[in-house]
């Protein structure tokens, strides 16, 4: 069965390594924070100027001066640090952030990503997405494998305006975990109960299926 958004977040959380500095985008990526494995200490970066983001505040303890990049009220962990937006993107551009997790509308087989603009619709802006994808050394995309019409969002090339090129390293969709290598999607894992055939049929870009494909370990 296809994963729900919590399971996608849970699977992505397994990619976290001890000591990582991680930037989590808005939506499913934000949920990853709830599934950080035990014994793994990561520091969450919020691009509006914080290292060491903690959980949402208890009711009544929210502070208008303390929000994340999704404008949600948050808290900090001990050892956190605040800085301005230039330093924040400075640490992103200089590769100090180990992992970036973000959503996508389309990803191409060479790692291009489109996630900011749909022609004909009101354009809200790219926010920090273009900076993140242009700079992050390790980008994991959390996304649905297909659009509501059932059409693949993993494409030979993106049809929507691009956010960045040749930057996505890994995709965790509701159906599969895939790596991007040498201009191909490479299937690594499949959602529990989802067949390789279904994934193949729903992936329009070049897909490599090499040997036995294990099921993801999610609850």
């Amino acid at each position: 069965m296809a994963l729900n958004k919590f399971q996608i977040a849970q699977r992505i959380a397994k990619e976290l390594k001890d000591g990582y500095y991680v930037n989590l985008g808005i939506g499913i990526p934000t949920l990853v924070a709830n599934y950080i494995p035990e014994g793994v200490n990561v520091v969450l970066q919020s691009e509006n100027g914080l290292l060491g983001m903690g959980p949402f505040p208890l009711q009544g303890e929210e502070d208008a001066d303390l929000i994340n990049a999704g404008k949600q009220t948050i808290t900090t962990i001990p050892g956190s640090a605040f800085f301005d937006s230039a330093m924040s993107f400075g640490m992103i551009r200089s590769g100090k952030v180990d992992l970036t997790v973000l959503g996508a509308m389309e990803v191409s087989e060479n790692g291009d990503i489109a996630n900011w603009k749909i022609p004909g619709k009101m354009v809200k802006g790219m926010g920090g997405a273009m900076d993140l994808v242009a700079s992050a050394k390790n980008i994991i995309v959390a996304m649905m494998h297909t659009n509501p019409k059932g059409e693949s969002k993993l494409l030979p090339s993106c049809t929507l305006p691009l956010t960045g090129i040749k930057c996505v390293k890994k995709i965790v969709s509701d159906l599969a975990v895939l790596e991007i290598v040498d201009g191909h999607f490479k299937l690594l894992e499949r959602a529990p109960g989802v067949s390789v055939e279904e994934i193949v049929s729903k992936t329009l870009g070049k897909l490599i299926v090499d040997g036995e494909i294990p099921e993801m370990d999610v609850n």
Binding site: F56, P57, A64, I67, S85, F89, M126, G128, S135
Partner: protein, 231 residues
């Protein structure tokens, strides 16, 4: 040389119609509330506003949009604002979208006397169209120009009569960067303290970058996305 102004109306009194303004803040966090209110009742118009966001319908830059005071908005993200969308679609409002890190760094470049920066943000996208692209160590970068505004308007937590500023938590965001990028920089502060009260090691914006300062009042500090946990 007195930098202290009585209130927002006093501090913004000479901003003319057609001016280019930078406004600090991220979403509604750390925005110069008092100054925006004063601008909204000032009658000036045809403003170009440079700010990461455009406020919401009834707060922040949204107040200036309601009054049709904004000719052009330069931002990285402009969602959450129906009036904004209406004016944009009707052609009343021009919009220029800039990647957030580029926006921040172009402001800083101005305050650091760097005429331009090279950034990878936007390479391979429509943002790169018409811009100079250059490779360094095998990676492509865009040349982006430093950003200056006629007036930069920022909000700090504490400040003193020398213009020194300290920001609080994530309300810092674009504020110290824009403070460096104004031909004239106006700072409103929650608390104007006596000179010498701020620890010189804690100052985020040294007073040399600030031309006017005033103690703001009645801060609403609206929360855009109140999100809490239950235990």
């Amino acid at each position: 040389m007195n930098k202290v102004f009585y209130n927002a109306a006093d501090a913004i009194a000479d901003i003319p119609s057609g001016a280019t303004l930078m406004l600090g803040g991220f979403g509604l966090c750390g925005i110069p509330e008092n100054s925006i209110s004063a601008l909204a009742t000032s009658g000036i118009h045809h403003l170009t506003c440079i700010s990461n966001n455009a406020g919401v319908d009834d707060f922040g830059i949204g107040l200036l949009l309601q009054n049709r005071q904004v000719k052009k908005m330069i931002a990285s993200y402009v969602g959450e604002n129906a009036e904004f969308e209406r004016q944009l679609l009707s052609g009343e409002l021009e919009v220029e979208l800039i990647p957030q890190g580029t926006l921040a760094t172009r402001c800083m470049a101005s305050g650091y006397g760097l005429p331009a920066i090279y950034t990878p943000a936007g390479i391979g996208t429509e943002i790169a169209e018409g811009k100079e692209i250059r490779e360094f160590n095998g990676k492509a970068y865009l040349l982006e120009m430093a950003f200056e505004a006629d007036f930069a308007i920022v909000k700090a937590w504490k400040g003193d009569a020398m213009g020194n500023l300290i920001f609080k938590d994530t309300a810092r965001n674009f504020n110290p960067l824009m403070a460096m990028a104004g031909k004239i920089t106006i700072a409103e502060v929650e608390e104007l303290v006596a000179v010498g009260e701020l620890d010189p090691n804690h100052i985020h914006t040294p007073g040399i970058y600030v031309n006017r300062i005033f103690q703001g009042q009645d801060y609403e500090k609206r929360i855009e996305q109140l999100t809490t946990r239950t235990q």
